[in-house]
Symmetry: C2
Subunit: 114 residues, 2 copies
């Protein structure tokens, strides 16, 4: 797999100047959550090897697991074709979701045809 | 798995009034891409059973595969704990990425320690 180094300035930002990050289990590929990074979160994650996000609701840096113990250790970070989304393959300690579910995507969306 | 019906109005929107959608392979869980939906894309996807997004770059509705043939048939839609992100488990025809790669995440992001 091709490897690239991209500084924060080279990533394309969303309307809120943040970059979305998909966290998935590195062994099963199960999607765990979607969160966002600012420059500080991005650089801290690269440096420390565990996921730090920027919390949009609390408007502050958020190292996942710092209060819950549910850290996400980085196994691999990938970037998409247009440099605007990060995929983090992680070793998830415990549950990714604050509800206690392993993944935040624990509800099925019913369609029109139900 | 719990099943919920959520109208577009009940979803939390990002700063751009869109909702991010993670598309993953329904068999392998491989993350294929991240795209966005507006109300029209959301309702069209629910109705037709194949993924339609809103293209931020072209500023128009975008039924994935309509020009490339690489349709994404919906196997299951999930919603996250805070109703602001959709996970679509899809049957991906061909490649999800316009580069011809199966997934848009075909490049590894090198860390500080390289």
């Amino acid at each position: 797999m091709e490897e690239v180094f991209l500084a924060w300035e080279e990533l394309k930002k969303g309307a809120d100047s943040l970059v979305p990050v998909i966290a998935a289990d590195h062994e099963t590929n199960e999607v765990l959550m979607l969160a966002y990074m600012n420059k500080e979160a991005y650089e801290k994650t690269l440096k420390e090897g565990r996921m730090t996000y920027f919390s949009r609701s609390r408007n502050e840096l958020w190292t996942k697991g710092l209060t819950s113990g549910h850290f996400q250790y980085v196994k691999e970070l990938r970037i998409d074709c247009d440099n605007d989304t990060i995929l983090a393959l992680v070793d998830q300690v415990g549950a990714a979701c604050h509800t206690g579910n392993r993944s935040c995507f624990y509800r099925k969306l019913a369609g029109e045809s139900r």
